[in-house]
């Protein structure tokens, strides 16, 4: 699967509290969550993000809470994939489970600037900066996780198994 989009770039330790502040968690409607996505570190994000755009973060992206509302808000806001140095464990799991593509590539994070346009090939893990023509390689997912992604998320996979 190939994606293209504009980059929103953030630093290290982008936590689930800034991705979707807890004050909005008395509601689990994905569109409501998306309307407040990234609000506490980038108040313009929800207005400026367009379908297909890409978030680039630093180390430990998605640290903090187990709230699945965080990847759900990012996905519903239209973000096609998140690229980071590393991901917090529960965020990583949640993203795989709900089908939000996430890629780990410290080189890409180092080289890519805010506002850059990227082309990402999810099958090969190739990330291309369309402004500079520079390419970066992300590590592919283990086969087990690829199967969850191919099934369309964990629920679809489980449905296939219990049904």
């Amino acid at each position: 699967m190939k994606l293209t989009g504009k980059v929103f770039k953030y630093g290290d330790n982008v936590d689930t509290d800034v991705i979707i502040p807890a004050r909005y968690l008395n509601n689990s409607d994905p569109r409501e969550l998306a309307a407040h996505c990234m609000e506490d570190i980038d108040e313009n994000f929800a207005q400026e993000v367009a379908e297909g755009d890409i978030i680039v973060g630093g180390k430990n992206f998605g640290s903090g809470s187990s709230r699945e509302h965080a990847p759900l808000a990012i996905k519903t806001a239209g973000v096609s994939c998140v690229i980071a140095d590393s991901f917090a464990r529960i965020f990583y799991r949640n993203s795989i489970n709900i089908g939000l593509p996430i890629l780990t590539s410290p080189e890409a994070v180092k080289g890519i600037k805010a506002g850059a346009r990227l082309a990402v090939d999810l099958d090969s893990g190739e990330i291309k900066d369309l402004d500079t023509d520079q390419t970066y390689q992300a590590a592919p997912f283990p086969e087990f996780m690829q199967n969850i992604i191919k099934a369309g998320g964990l629920i679809e996979k489980v449905k296939g198994e219990v049904g």
Binding site: D15, S63, G64, S66, E68, H69, P71, I148, I155
Partner: protein, 421 residues
């Protein structure tokens, strides 16, 4: 070849003789947990699977503790959805307001979290139960839904970092200080994807309450879980509580660790984590002049009886500073009752403290103690991220209950030694 505790627990739950770090396996879970924030999302996903009932109604626990007693109509609707699901599926361990406590204080108290078990919870601080020798880890709502339906989940076998704490604790130093110190040393991603195993003389001497505080914050170092081997203290705690038989697992002497890290605890004084990361720690004596407007004593980290006793020791015959609001939140109804019997509430109320029913409210900026723009709080909770307790331009400083109580009296971040003669 030897195995670590975590490897043995995963092997036993996946019918393998042995497992290795990096391996991905399906394993049975012994308990699945959710709260009023994460369960509504899990219910929507559960309903897509197409099963009528949960895998075992005795092995699902639902604790509405985040926005309860409900703070507004939306949170009431969420709690209603959770309540209806629990009734319809005949969930044994659903805890309504009045029975409810902060989930990670409540479940161990009820004997629902046992050594050698795999426990998954749609709350990141599920790792608390590692203090009892369980592989307990936070997951999302989709994982909760899949685990409720099948009683299984996928796990990547983690590498284990062994922490050895030697020496004797200094006065006013507790489990909270050991874990803040550790996170300060290794960083908020220092144990990313890994299991943390807490060992050594200082851990053996730590109370169960103190151990739970340590395991609770394993996630703040990025850890999958934070385990302490079951010993006589654990068994004593579980006497008359454990709802099931259990099998503890112990790391082999020749187990392979990712790293072994040793700390001499006699060099550690009470710690304070400065905004906006739990790794920004420094000794309280080096805190400098930080004025505060709020002090919060409670949460799944420090809302247990021992914590309230320590806070009361500091607050006895003292009064909260005129510029400070101090809030104490007992973790469960049982802790509430015991604290009342021991006269702790009289000490708190005489000191000008507000005592609350159990709730996670202020810890995550939900309700019952939200900060305005520019305000600072010292808190015994586990996170000091941007906007964690309210306005994005407010600040949270993390500490143990003694420092939070002393700071409430002084109006600035203070050592208990400044308050207690």
């Amino acid at each position: 070849m030897g195995m670590t505790m975590v490897e043995k627990i995963i092997a036993a739950h996946s019918d393998n003789d042995s497992v290795k770090p990096g391996q991905i396996v399906n394993a049975r879970v012994d308990l699945v947990l959710g709260n009023d924030v994460t369960t509504p999302v899990a219910i929507k996903e559960f309903n897509k699977i197409g099963v009528d009932s949960v895998f075992d109604r005795d092995r699902v626990a639902i604790v509405p503790d985040h926005f309860t007693p409900n703070k507004d109509i939306n949170s009431a609707q969420q709690a209603l959805m959770v309540r209806n699901f629990a009734r319809e599926k005949e969930i044994t361990n659903y805890f309504e307001v009045g029975e409810m406590g902060i989930e990670h204080c409540l479940l161990p108290e009820k004997g629902l979290t046992l050594p050698g078990e795999i426990i998954v919870g749609a709350d990141s601080h599920t790792c608390t139960y590692g203090a009892l020798g369980a592989l307990a880890t936070g997951v999302g709502s989709t994982d909760m839904a899949a685990a409720m339906a099948t009683g299984e989940l996928w796990f990547r076998v983690p590498e284990t970092i062994k922490f050895v704490y030697t020496g004797k604790l200094n006065p006013w130093v507790s489990g909270k200080d050991l874990i803040l110190y550790t996170i300060g040393k290794i960083g908020v991603d220092g144990a990313l994807y890994k299991a943390m195993e807490f060992t050594g003389e200082a851990i053996e001497n730590l109370s169960m309450d103190g151990r739970m505080t340590m395991s609770n914050m394993a996630i703040e170092a990025g850890g999958k879980c934070g385990l302490i081997a079951c010993d006589d203290k654990t068994r004593e705690y579980l006497t008359d509580r454990a709802v099931r038989d259990f099998t503890p697992y112990y790391s082999d002497n020749d187990a392979i660790y990712d790293r072994v890290i040793e700390y001499d605890v006699s060099e550690i004084e009470p710690q304070v984590a400065f905004p906006h990361l739990p790794e920004n720690t420094r000794p309280v004596s080096k805190a400098g002049d930080v004025k505060i407007q709020q002090s919060v004593i409670g949460s799944c980290t420090n809302g247990r009886l021992e914590d309230l006793r320590i806070a009361a020791e500091v607050l006895k015959n003292k009064h909260v500073h005129e510029d400070v609001r101090c809030i104490v939140l007992p973790g469960t109804q049982e802790i509430y009752k015991q604290a009342m019997k021991e006269g702790l509430f009289e000490i708190f109320i005489d000191a000008g403290v507000a005592v609350s029913t159990p709730t996670c409210g202020p810890c995550l900026g939900g309700h019952m103690g939200i900060l305005a723009k520019g305000e600072r709080a010292i808190s015994t909770t586990n996170r000091n991220f941007v906007g964690r307790m309210g306005h994005p331009e407010s600040e949270v400083y993390l500490s143990n209950p003694a420092v939070a109580a002393a700071s409430a009296v002084k109006g600035y971040i203070a050592s208990p030694e400044e308050v207690v003669e």
